[in-house]
Amino acid sequence: MKRRAANAAGDAPVRMYHVSKSYMAGQYALHDVSLEVRRGEFLFLTGPSGAGKTTLLELIFADEAPSEGQILVLGRNVARLGASGVPALRRRVGVVFQDFKLLPDRTVEENVRLALDVVGTPRREARSRVFGLLKSVGLQHRRFHHPLSLSGGEQQRVALARALVNEPEILLADEPTGNLDPDLTLEIMDLIVKASTRGTTVIVATHDHSLLERYGKRMLRLEGGRVVEDIPAAGSASGVGT
């Protein structure tokens, strides 16, 4: 199924054509953005607060619908997804947020397993996959702990494990290191970069310039809802900018 979806999406799981998003008449959170992100590509979204980074991510995981233009995610037109289409899409897109969005009354294992529970993954298989993921982020020994007993970096690693446990084709991260100190920031970013090397398309919104310089990945700069700069990854050709 995954292979069929990948074919449908071609080599660009995310395609945006002249997309605008407006919450009030005449005021655009995003304005005329065209973008193509290739499979396995790593893209940094950057820009000041209010530039439209979060809106762009919300459009990709169908939390918002575009006011104008077309968005194709994994070959599906986001504006035309039905009631069952949105959950189906989100099972193929992992999302990580600055505030982790973990459930405090569930253990680490239960939080990560949530993404498998919604598709009815048998418990034994789910436990095994969760354990593997937690091991890959170095938290297997903390799986029966509750999130509030973990450090910020550990909580973000749990959130990352939850986003990756379904082996998503796209990983979106909205300021994933915004609440973390520099050491933990690098720890989390290394894990995210590692996911992209396994073929997952990754889009990370950040205004941390040190990360942009350190990783040398493709960078899309937004300002006032418009793309003002699309810098290719160091030593590679770029996707299509506006």
Binding site: D117, G120, R123, N166
Partner: protein, 300 residues
């Protein structure tokens, strides 16, 4: 375990988790449903027993035709045969004036009470037993009209008026019980709906995360529906036990009064099917309340 069973197990686990997390509001919903169903159950039991008594009275319903004193025993039998052939009549018994006096003496407490009587003042009579389908006001009216004025019949007496009055009382109690049940049922629905709304609100973070990881609308909603249904089920069971306890404890206390008024007090509790109905209506209330809460709510 395949995926469907896994999803069902997860839905139940989430429903129980919801009840545990919001134990105070859940308890409120359970108690409310229980109170409503205790009242509805008690009223239903009252109506069912009143109807039972009415049916038994109906089975014993008969017309009595008092005969003229001059009529001979031969004419009495001939008249009885004629009446027995009338539509709606099952059979006719002749009670001679001597038999009538004996009966009276038995009821009154002994023959010595009648010692001072010079002659038997009681007339002979025909006791006319009716077929079940003729035990209605209309059928009795038609039969009475056809018998009235027959030669030899002095007066027709019927226990129908008392029974009709009782039937009206049953209807009144039933209508009252239905009205009260509807009002209380609506109140219970609103309380369950608000309980579920509170549960949805309390778990908004969880719902947001579930939506993020691709939970379907069904996956999100079913636990809330189960939660309401389970609350209703528990409320229904509690109500059934309370009504049963009251029935067993209160009935012995009022048995004497009932026997005095009705002549007997063979009251019954709900049958198994009726008990299941009472509990199921609790679940139904809970489910309906949850649906009300979810329609247009946050758990989309």
């Amino acid at each position: 375990m395949n995926r469907v069973w896994m999803l069902i197990a997860i839905a139940f686990a989430n429903a129980f988790r919801g009840i545990r997390t919001a134990s105070t509001t859940s308890s409120l919903a359970v108690v409310t449903i229980a109170i409503v169903l205790v009242l509805v159950g008690a009223a239903s039991l009252l109506v069912a027993n009143m109807r039972g008594i009415l049916d038994e009275f109906g089975a014993e319903l008969q017309l009595t035709a008092y005969l003229e004193s001059a009529i001979s025993e031969e004419d009495q039998r001939a008249l009885a045969n004629r009446v027995a052939a009338a539509p709606g009549v099952d059979h006719v018994e002749v009670v001679t004036s001597d038999e009538a006096l004996e009966r009276f003496a038995r009821i009154a407490g002994g023959p010595e009470l009648l010692a001072g009587l010079d002659e038997n003042p009681l007339p002979a009579s025909l006791e006319i037993h009716l077929l079940p389908e003729a035990r209605t006001a209309d059928a009795i009216g038609i039969l009475t009209a056809s018998l009235d004025g027959l030669p030899g019949i002095d007066e027709l007496a019927q226990g129908q008026e008392w029974i009709e009055g009782y039937a009206r009382a049953v209807s009144l109690v039933r209508a009252g019980a239905l009205g009260i049940s509807i009002v209380l049922g609506m109140a219970a629905l609103l309380i369950v709906a608000n309980t579920i709304r509170l549960a949805v609100y309390a778990r908004r973070d969880e719902l947001e995360i579930l939506a993020l990881v691709g939970a379907s609308r069904t996956f999100v909603r079913v636990p809330f529906l189960l939660e309401g249904t389970l609350q209703g089920l528990l409320g229904g069971l509690i109500a059934l036990f309370v009504v049963y306890g009251a029935f067993e404890l209160v009935l012995p206390q009022i048995r004497f009064g009932l026997e005095l008024v009705l002549g007997r007090a063979e009251l019954r509790f709900f049958s198994v099917a009726e008990s299941i109905w009472l509990v199921a209506s609790g679940s139904g209330l809970g489910l309906l309340g949850s649906i009300m809460a979810l329609v247009g709510g946050r758990a989309q």
